[in-house]
């Protein structure tokens, strides 16, 4: 049939996990001495290549389509992209703002990556981040403790809030079979409503503005470089990268988690409780996302506002996919997307378009990561078909 002639996938590939599956990560490492075209081919057609290459191609596709959209609206892509670059890496100030944007994103993406590794689709990191931020904002705004202790209390509150928020879908999945995609997604909106309720009512600071009290002194993460917004949040994020790596690859729990992600049936046969791993992974993922919320409140925003943006939760999915759910890849990808977000402000003043354009690029990137292999395999098959036809003649 005409439409169905398309894509065939090797039998072992479980449906529904074509790209997000952790299986991609166990593919053999690419041999060092290969040409660029071979690398591209491996990443797109043979599905055993490096994920870095696939992610890089996705970024190129996004910038190319972005350029088309810019030109179509009479904006010079060169002007736009050079402003984007100078706003993210061009000066010490822009580097600092890249780091500021990266910190919460990195932690939220590690949270998403851990859950994807276990085959659990936590797409509600935004909501967990939101309740974590709210908990940290309330503790920091109303409970006054000494230097250091205050920040620890805020971090603990955000971890617990995010962890409990995500444990609910975990328990529902384990005991009622409720799909975590739906429950985590719906809970993100509940979290947004809860934040608005809290900051307009019970947790509202005195004054006209609907927000939690402005954090001050010991409730703020220390600034690293004077005259910039750069706080210790980025250090927390960077410190978590090796910790998550150790957890995933050097502990029994991490091995169980990855086995459940690779093949729940085998994991169950080996005597692991898939249920328990599923619940604990969601709780862990939610706790980390909650911590990302604390970093955002204490390191960037200074208080929890009404209509707080939970977009980071969706960007974290993009980061986790580009970074192939591994800590190192996630670090790279979060710096990349953090830089785009930071640079978009400069792009705004240079060419008049900003944040939304970056969201558009993010969408193209994940669309490309999941869609490009199909295009490439289709082209490869057509070329083989033509070669056969030529040979037959």
């Amino acid at each position: 049939m005409s439409l169905g002639g398309g894509i065939s996938v090797p039998g072992g590939d479980p449906p529904g996990e074509a790209v997000a599956s952790p299986q991609a990560s166990v593919a053999a490492a690419p041999e060092p001495a290969r040409s660029l075209s071979a690398l591209v081919r491996a990443a797109l057609v043979e599905r055993n290549g490096s994920r870095v290459v696939l992610s890089a191609i996705a970024a190129v596709v996004a910038f190319a389509l972005g350029a088309v959209a810019l030109v179509a609206n009479g904006i010079s892509p060169w002007a736009a992209y050079s402003a984007l670059f100078s706003g993210s890496f061009g000066s010490a100030q822009s580097l600092a703002s890249t780091a500021v944007q990266t910190a919460p994103l990195l932690v939220a993406s590690l949270a998403v990556g851990i859950s994807f590794r276990a085959g659990v689709f936590n797409i509600g990191a935004g909501g967990q981040l939101g309740v974590g931020a709210l908990a940290a904002g309330i503790v920091g705004g109303y409970v006054h403790l000494g230097t250091g202790v205050e920040l620890l209390a805020m971090a603990a509150a955000s971890l617990v809030a995010g962890g409990l928020w995500a444990a609910v879908p975990g328990l529902l999945k384990a005991y009622t079979g409720a799909n975590e995609v739906i429950t985590t997604l719906m809970l993100t909106y509940v979290a947004a409503d809860l934040i608005d309720y809290a900051v307009t009512g019970p947790a509202k600071a005195s004054g006209a503005i609907n927000q939690t009290p402005q954090l001050a002194g010991s409730a703020l993460l220390p600034t690293l470089v004077g005259n910039t917004q750069l706080t210790a949040a980025i250090l927390v994020g960077i410190a978590l990268v090796p910790l998550v790596w150790l957890l995933l690859f050097r502990t029994t729990y991490g091995m169980r988690l990855r086995m459940v992600g690779l093949n729940p049936g085998t994991a169950a046969a080996a005597g692991f409780s898939v249920r328990r791993v599923g619940v604990s992974v969601l709780a862990l993922s939610g706790a980390l996302a909650g911590l990302a919320g604390m970093l955002e409140v204490s390191g960037v925003l200074g208080s929890v506002p009404q209509n707080m943006s939970l977009q980071v939760g969706y960007t974290a999915i993009v980061v986790a996919l580009l970074g192939n759910n591994g800590p190192a890849g996630i670090l790279l990808a979060s710096v990349f997307l953090g830089a785009l977000t930071a640079g978009s402000t400069t792009m705004q003043s240079a060419v008049g378009v900003s944040g939304p354009f970056v969201v558009f690029l993010e969408g193209i990137m994940i669309g490309s990561v999941v869609g490009m292999p199909a295009i490439a395999r289709g082209l490869a098959r057509r070329r083989r078909g033509e070669a056969r036809a030529a040979g037959a003649r």
Binding site: G11, I182, T183, M186, L194, A374
Partner: protein, 306 residues
């Protein structure tokens, strides 16, 4: 306000708030009944809203707006369809991709095209009374004095229901969404039916997005503001049935209407917590605490022809 006025405005507001949920929900039913999980309803409706704005701004007519709304939303839905059907992409990720592209692109285009100069409001669609019926006390001004799109949404529910469960084409959609292998061996074009179903969901979302825009006559960033996710909730709460979607949409719309009426009467209610009710009841519904809902068996599963 008199009691009569309260009831009248309550019913009218409920219907108004339910209309985009019904359109989005019908779109979700069509797509998911064919086996394509659709969390892109939000993005598709947003594209529809922008399409209406651009079309109505360019032509100065309501028809121009609706045509472009439907065309734009259908193209958005086809991106999801291609990723889900041909690229075998994970359908959750594919839906996220469409939502992000929709959110970014509509806002970017709005800034780029209209941002500097701004535009006058585009023609909207006011309520149209149905002659005679709108003279009936209470139900007249509430039920029979609505936007044409609201009447269309209400008529579409039995129409889609009949088509899906009582016609050959509709049963083909159901077969493809439940047992694609069997449907394929019976000679049905699984891919074609899924493409058409997702395209139809785009048409419905386009109308839903257009309705949202006709109520305010100007575009703003992410203006669907979660209605697409409420529509997804209505699909699930409504057990993947058009009539169930209508019940859920009216219920969800009534919660919001109730809040605004209580507020106008000076009763203080935790407004934001009431807004969370649709999401919470959906979580309860998928957890099977009140009569389990059941998704089409192949919902979200790419079909690979062997």
């Amino acid at each position: 306000m008199s009691a009569e006025a309260v009831v009248t405005s309550g019913i009218a507001t409920t219907l108004e708030l339910s209309t985009p949920i019904v359109f989005g929900g019908l779109g979700g039913v069509l797509s998911e009944r064919s086996g394509v999980l659709n969390i892109a309803l939000e993005g598709t409706m947003l594209v529809g809203a922008f399409g209406y704005f651009a079309g109505a701004a360019a032509t100065g007519t309501v028809i121009g707006g609706i045509v472009l709304a439907v065309a734009a939303a259908t193209s958005g839905a086809l991106v999801l369809a291609w990723l889900a059907i041909h690229a075998n992409a994970d359908q959750v990720i594919a839906g996220m991709a469409v939502n992000l592209i929709a959110s970014g692109l509509t806002d970017f285009l709005y800034q780029a095209i209209y941002g500097v100069s701004g535009t006058a409001p585009v023609p909207g669609m006011g309520p149209v009374g149905i002659p005679l019926l709108d003279k009936i006390p209470v139900v007249g001004p509430s039920l029979f004095d609505q936007s044409l799109l609201t009447y269309l949404a209400l008529l579409a529910v039995p129409a889609v229901s009949f088509w899906l469960f009582r016609t050959r084409a509709g049963l083909h959609v159901l077969a493809v969404g439940e047992r694609p292998e069997a449907a394929d061996s019976a000679g049905l074009g699984v891919y074609k039916i899924r493409y058409l179903s997702v395209a139809a969901s785009g048409v419905a979302c386009g109308l839903g997005g257009a309705f949202i825009l006709t109520q305010v006559s100007s575009f703003s960033s992410d203006m669907t503001a979660g209605v697409g996710y409420i529509a997804l909730a209505a699909v699930i709460f409504g057990n993947w049935r058009p009539r169930g979607v209508l019940v859920a949409a009216v219920l969800f719309g009534a919660f919001e209407a109730l809040q605004s009426i209580l507020q106008s009467l000076g009763v203080s209610v935790p407004y934001d917590l009431l807004l969370a009710v649709p999401y919470l009841v959906t979580i309860v519904a998928v957890s099977g605490f009140v009569g389990r809902v059941r998704a089409p068996q192949a919902d979200g599963v790419p079909y690979v022809r062997s």
